[in-house]
């Protein structure tokens, strides 16, 4: 197979951290190449090098036999490379066709023509996209497809897909991946960045595994299997992640009955109906694909969203760990002590009448930095100076400092590396062990199953409690088809 894209001896270092060390990567024409590895293994950095977003310290890029210097995504696009990011990069207020025309640089002097062109292209690659829909109104699955459509419209022959299934339900992810396979006939080669080896086994021709910035495995998919891939990814045999015994339930802390909540974010149906309980000492997992009502449910339990109808009783205090650390959970310009004061409100020990005793707040912050292992220069340090993992340690420390009866966490491990993720899991389990009712949503179902005692699935805004011992497949099916 002739090589379409070759990355030769790529190295990249950030400060003292080696992101990529002497990495070689080959993408053949018409091939689907899975790039596997844990969070932080260097997958995204490598693809950002190929897309001109990151300049490597050394190494070369060869496209179609020509050595290229990719200084920006514009140059990468010109060389026939398209990238589909994990997050949505379309303009929400624009229609589908406007988004495509913008990326592909089409003339729009006759909108009908551009619209038809988009319709034809979508049909050809089997996407059910209406060119006139507003991009912001599309479901997560269609948004993902719009990203792909934009890349193909811009004449990409190489698609770099960064965890494309992370926001999709299991069945939709399967359909999406099979559509990828059909691109082969159009001469489009794809790199599928993922940390799920099941996806790689299902669709890829070739696989490369990165661990700590180095290639630890490369070869055709047919000569490998799940166990072997898992060993390559983790460096050891993965532990059995299924929980066998449920916690001993305590008193009821959250009681939700026939709850309806209007849409909070920009997409999704909102919460149509949910009935559930959460007791002291257990972790209740909320499984849902993005935009299926989990935000509304969690915010309503946390007292941040109004119920349209139904009943909701929650023990106090209830504390929310919001999904977006940098914009919702912390004030970047404020010091860690100020952020702690913010989170604790008027009942904190350093508040006397209208006054704040800052000395006391700083002392307590320093203690928390110590006991939660936050790597920070001190309580005076601004929050934005911390790494993502350390910010989240601080957020959790502040949340637990309020001695919550109920702890609600929205995808608290988003964007964290393996070690920080494991630590957050332990903190949530420990909180439950200390008698807190923990309600958590995690985007990754495997992660959620390893943390939760029980799982409630939200699909299309309707909640369904899964029976104990439900299999991963059953839960995945419910996430897609449930609700009706």
């Amino acid at each position: 197979m002739p090589s379409l894209l070759t990355l030769r001896n790529i190295s990249k270092q950030y400060g003292s951290v080696v992101a990529l060390r002497d990495v070689n990567f080959d993408l053949g024409a018409g091939e689907i190449h899975a790039l596997l590895g844990e969070n932080g293994a260097g997958k995204s950095t490598l693809m950002n090098v190929a897309f001109g977003l990151v300049r490597p310290d050394s190494g070369s890029i060869v496209i179609d036999g020509h050595q290229q210097q990719l200084r920006s995504p514009v140059e990468a696009r010109r060389a026939g490379i398209g990238m589909v990011h994990q997050h949505f990069t379309s303009i929400p207020a624009f229609s589908v066709w406007e988004n495509v025309a913008l990326t592909a640089g089409w003339s729009i002097s006759r909108p009908r023509v551009a619209e038809e062109r988009v319709r034809a292209l979508a049909q050809r690659i089997g996407f059910d996209l209406d060119p006139r829909s507003r991009a912001g109104d599309l479901s997560a699955g269609l948004k993902q497809r719009l990203e792909v459509l934009k890349a193909i419209a811009a004449d990409a022959r190489i698609l770099l897909l960064d965890e494309p299934s992370s926001a999709l339900s299991p069945a939709d992810a399967e359909q999406f991946l099979s559509q990828l396979r059909s691109f082969k006939t159009m001469g489009i080669a794809s790199v599928l960045i993922t940390h799920k080896f099941s996806e790689a086994l299902g669709i890829a021709d070739t696989v490369t595994v990165l661990r700590r910035g180095e290639v630890v495995h490369n070869g055709p998919i047919s000569t490998t299997n799940a166990t072997e891939l898992a060993r390559h990814i983790l460096g050891e045999v993965p532990p059995d992640r299924l929980r066998l015994a449920a916690a001993v339930p305590g008193d009821v802390r959250v009681r939700v009955e026939s709850l309806t909540v209007l849409r909070q974010g920009s997409s999704g149906p909102g919460l149509r109906t949910a009935t559930m309980l959460a007791r002291a000492g257990e972790v209740v997992g909320i499984a849902a694909v993005e935009g299926n009502g989990q935000r509304e449910l969690l915010r309503a339990i946390a007292g941040m969203a109004e119920a349209k109808s139904g009943r909701i009783d929650v023990a106090t205090p209830v504390v929310l760990i919001p999904e977006d650390r940098t914009s919702e959970a912390l004030i970047g310009d404020f010091s860690l002590a100020e952020n702690l004061v913010l989170s604790q409100g008027g009942a904190a020990p350093w508040v006397r009448g209208p006054w704040i005793r800052w000395r006391q707040a700083h002392d307590r912050t320093a203690q928390l930095i110590e006991s939660f292992g936050v790597r920070a220069a001190g309580s005076e340090m601004p929050a934005r100076g911390l790494s993502g993992g350390n910010q989240q340690r601080m957020v959790i420390a502040a949340a637990l400092e309020r001695r919550p009866a109920v702890l609600v966490a929205e995808n608290p491990t988003r964007g964290l590396d393996f070690k920080a993720t494991a630590e957050i899991h332990d903190r949530l389990r420990a909180a439950a062990g200390a008698g807190v009712a923990v309600i958590v949503h995690l985007a990754d179902l495997d992660e959620l199953m390893s943390v939760a005692d029980r799982i409630v699935v939200l699909a299309a805004g309707i909640a369904t409690e899964m029976p104990t011992g439900a299999s991963r497949d059953a839960i995945g099916r419910q996430m897609l088809t449930g609700g009706g």
Binding site: R77, T89, I91, N99, L102, W106, I108
Partner: protein
């Protein structure tokens, strides 16, 4: 109301609306790119002085050219600070307006001597459009105006086309909705926004020219008196669409022209009430309009 009075009122309304329309069209372009420029008040004032200086030196059309250049200069400084360096747009715009008030005051006095000397400038002639000007009532109001009014009217479809039918317009609107996503789509956000701001500044300068050369015929310190700010309100009323901005500007022109009409009629009402009226009307209409329309999502960021 007699017909001649109605004609006089409508003519005044269109004449008063012209600088507002020019400035508001420019600001529409700037804001569609995500940049709110409170400095257009200053750019308009600089344009007014440029028009006076140019007209004194080389006749009204030289004034028009110098006015555009002056507006562009103010906008260029604004763009460097607010877009280039990423400083707060609102405060930068306020500062640009202050600087323009100070500089135009100093230059005016240096060029024409101490204030108080009445300055009479060569103005742009009224050009009746053959045929159209003969339409009863509307003809004299809309088609017996200076060339700048016709330019302003022509800019409405032209800018609409530019915004909604060209790749540049698409890129500009993308920058206004989400700079980050526009960048991901390969748009040079800074360049596009700077161009948008410059178009806004040039048109604000032209607005200053129309104020001086087609309406007042002289220059005075702080003579724009908030017209640039009103233009920003007109953009909101016009929901960032050139056609509706035209409507909003005419509505404003009419509100401001009311004082000419009523001063001769209702002697009991103090004329300051009519000075207040346009501003109060703006606030009232804004309250009715704003909740129902969507501004470019990244405006001001």
């Amino acid at each position: 109301m007699t017909e001649s009075l109605l004609v006089a009122f409508l003519t005044a309304a269109v004449r008063v609306a012209t600088p507002l329309l020019l400035a508001a069209l420019g600001e529409t372009i700037s804001e569609r790119g995500g940049v709110i420029n409170l400095g257009i008040e200053g750019a308009m004032l600089a344009g007014a002085l440029g028009a006076a200086l140019g007209a004194t030196a080389g006749g009204p059309w030289a004034g028009v050219l110098l006015a555009i250049a002056a507006g562009l200069t103010v906008a260029a400084v604004f763009a460097a600070i607010a877009v280039g360096a990423g400083a707060d747009q609102i405060i930068t715009g306020t500062a640009m307006t202050l600087a323009s008030i100070g500089l135009t005051g100093a230059i005016y006095r240096s060029a024409y001597g101490p204030a108080g000397v009445g300055l009479t400038l060569p103005t742009l002639p009224v050009v009746p459009l053959p045929g159209l000007a003969a339409i009863p009532v509307l003809g004299p109001a809309f088609f017996q105006q200076s060339a700048l009014t016709y330019i302003a009217f022509l800019l409405v479809p032209l800018l609409w086309w530019g915004l909604f039918r060209t790749p540049f317009g698409l890129a500009l609107r993308a920058c206004g909705e989400s700079a980050e996503h526009a960048r991901a789509a390969g748009v040079g956000v800074t360049q596009v926004r700077v161009i948008g701001v410059l178009i806004g500044g040039g048109l604000a300068g032209l607005a200053g020219a129309s104020l001086v050369l087609a309406q007042v015929g002289t220059f005075a310190e702080k003579m724009t008196a908030g017209r640039g700010f009103i233009a920003i309100a007109i953009v909101v009323l016009g929901t960032w669409h050139p056609g509706r901005v035209l409507g909003a500007a005419l509505f404003f022109g009419a509100a401001m022209a009311l004082q000419f009409l009523f001063q001769s009629f209702l002697l009991g009402i103090p004329y300051q009430v009519f000075l207040l009226l346009p501003y109060l009307l703006t606030l009232l209409v804004l309250a009715g309009v704003v909740g129902k329309v969507k501004a470019p999502a990244d405006l001001g960021r």
